[in-house]
């Protein structure tokens, strides 16, 4: 059905806050009041409690993960494996091809685990360098064939271990960003849970960067920040309030282009609805980029990230 008057006004206000793609989620009946709340929140300053609630929801054990969205959003999904370099196939990074509507897309994303075995196999969603190299390989494959790239970001950070360092964690994260900066296909990233630092930005140098309403995106975890600046990890809540990892603030700072609404009390309460809302936003974002020539996409993408920062 066509959007209502009221809805249009709301969505317009929302988009004015920072010219972001209108949120597909808003099209869904029953989402309007959430959208309204979201807009109100964007209006005023989120409280320390609201920010902390995002932190908790972003890390919620029942929150949908990358593959939960893949199975609901992509047809003909085919997962690709391996770094082709002999370091193996990283379980924390998922990469593959599938159809978003009629379009073939490449999807990359971190994947946490549900039970302890899977968490271990997937390193709690913290990729090794070989995981980023797998993502690079699949993104470049997409570039060769003109497939849009979608990345779903959900990681506490890149894996902090001896082998990961020896395999070249810093270089792999840099190389993955560089590969995305070179792509001439549409790229859309969405933070669906924890957007943890370098491990997150490695796959988030995209034409459109979205965040789910209760996701967080930050340069350091609240605990890490508190431990360093407050000398007390217990002050995590205070730290979070100080560096503001919530979607509303990331939108205000121009770090993201749009917020994807979540159903009910959060994505974990209704996977299908969360997937519908995410899917609509992803499709809208890809559609909006599909007609732009590749080199122009790349030029704008670089210009966008090169404009980030506040200095005088």
């Amino acid at each position: 059905m066509p959007p209502s008057e009221h809805e249009l006004r709301l969505r317009e206000r929302l988009s004015r806050l920072r010219n972001m793609p209108l949120l597909g989620g808003a099209k869904l009946s029953g989402e309007l009041e959430r959208l309204q709340r979201q807009i109100d929140r964007l209006g005023e300053e989120p409280t320390e409690d609201e920010i902390w609630r995002s932190v908790e929801l972003a890390r919620h054990a029942d929150r949908p993960y990358t593959l939960d969205y893949v199975e609901r959003l992509l047809d003909d999904w085919f997962e690709l494996h391996g770094d082709r370099a002999g370091l193996g196939d990283d379980g924390a990074m998922v990469a593959g091809l599938g159809k978003l509507g009629t379009r073939t897309v490449a999807l990359v994303g971190q994947q946490k685990g549900r039970d302890i075995q899977e968490r271990t196999r997937r390193q709690f969603g913290m990729p090794f360098p070989e995981g980023y190299r797998k993502a690079i390989r699949v993104m470049e494959l997409a570039g060769l064939h003109g497939f849009p790239v979608i990345s779903l970001v959900d990681t506490p950070g890149a894996y902090p271990g001896v082998a990961a360092e020896q395999h070249g964690q810093g270089g792999a994260i840099a190389a993955s960003q560089a590969a995305m900066a070179r792509l001439t296909v549409p790229t859309v990233a969405c933070v669906i849970g924890e957007g943890g630092s370098g491990g997150a930005i490695a796959i988030a140098l995209a034409d459109r960067v979205l965040m789910q309403e209760n996701a967080i995106y930050s340069v350091i975890s609240p605990e890490g920040c508190a431990a360093i600046l407050w000398r007390d990890a217990g002050e995590a809540q205070k730290a979070a309030a100080a560096f503001k990892p919530d979607a509303a603030h990331c939108l205000e700072l121009g770090v993201i282009d749009g917020i994807v609404p979540e159903p009910g009390e959060g994505a974990h309460t209704d996977y299908d609805a969360a997937a519908r809302l995410l899917g609509e936003s992803l499709r809208e974002a890809v559609d909006g980029l599909a007609e732009v020539p590749g080199d122009e996409l790349r030029r704008r993408r670089r210009a966008k990230f090169r404009a980030l920062g506040v200095f005088a």
Binding site: G157, A174, S197, A200, S218, F305, G309
Partner: protein, 278 residues
């Protein structure tokens, strides 16, 4: 485990300096400032490389009088009005006072053995060389300046991690500097990276790893995650040379380790190679 962030290296700041700041930590020889300055801050007894300030570094690299500083006054703002135990603004002011720098990097055109290049040199003394908006912007301008003048970029890195007080904007300096390097490369220019101690976290995970040639100084810590965080997080036993330049070379992440006195002639040689008519 999954909760500990791995990208911040502030706990890898060098241990508080000994009473006499010019005491060699490895052989305990004492030096006067002018002695060390004359020796490029390398211990004459054991070869230990002391930290080198950005201006001394530039003096040791560039032909005399050839360096012209760009964007000297550019400094970070405080978009988050960040306040931990003290306001960010206060920390910035203090760092400016103590270092005489507006932030943790100096940029500008220079010549090395008569070959023109652009320099971007970090200074660990300014808030641990952490990368905030000012560092990201100045490094990116250095890339553009090099591209415009058709000269290679030579960057000396030294960074303990993220500028937490700028929150997510400090993380955004990674993609920002990566895009700047890609623009430099598309302009056909090379980047030569010299990694000084320590080159870690966000700087290593962005522009520092994207050089056409990657050099490091002996003993430099080069790691995305520093030893302490790795130990605390994974409880792994660390190899003795964990994250050091030698280990990075052994694992294929560096082209060469160059003792400080050799850095200038080595960079000059590389400039001759990258300048050559095609």
């Amino acid at each position: 485990m999954a909760k500990i962030d791995v990208s911040v290296q502030t706990d890898d700041k060098p241990v508080p300096p000994p009473k006499h700041p010019n005491t060699c930590p490895s052989c305990h020889s004492h030096y006067r400032d002018d002695e060390l300055e004359g020796a490029l801050w390398v211990c004459g007894q054991c070869g230990h490389h002391f930290p080198m300030r950005a201006r001394s570094r530039i003096a040791s690299l560039a032909d005399p009088g050839s360096f012209v500083e760009e964007s000297a006054g550019l400094h970070s703002e405080d978009p988050l009005h960040f306040f931990d135990l003290r306001p960010y603004g206060e920390r910035l002011a203090e760092a400016e006072m103590s270092t005489g720098l507006a932030d943790a990097i100096l940029i500008g055109p220079a010549a090395i053995e008569d070959r023109s290049c652009e320099l971007a040199v970090m200074d660990f003394s300014f808030m641990g060389g952490s990368m905030g908006s000012a560092v990201g912007e100045k490094f990116s301008r250095a890339c553009d300046s090099a591209a415009e003048r058709g000269a290679p970029l030579v960057t000396v890195t030294s960074s303990g991690g993220a500028r937490m007080q700028e929150g997510i904007l400090s993380l955004m300096q990674l993609p920002k500097t990566v895009c700047a390097v890609e623009d430099l490369h598309d302009a056909g220019q090379a980047m030569i990276v010299v990694m000084a101690h320590p080159t870690t976290a966000g700087v290593l995970a962005s522009f520092a790893s994207l050089g056409d040639v990657l050099l490091a100084e002996p003993g430099a810590l080069i790691a995305f995650t520093g030893p302490r965080v790795v130990e605390q997080t994974t409880r792994e036993k660390l190899p003795d040379d964990f994250g050091l330049a030698a280990q990075n070379l052994r694992f294929g992440h560096l082209d060469a380790i160059i003792p400080r006195p050799e850095v200038r002639p080595t960079v000059a040689r590389l400039l001759r190679l990258f300048d050559a008519p095609e």
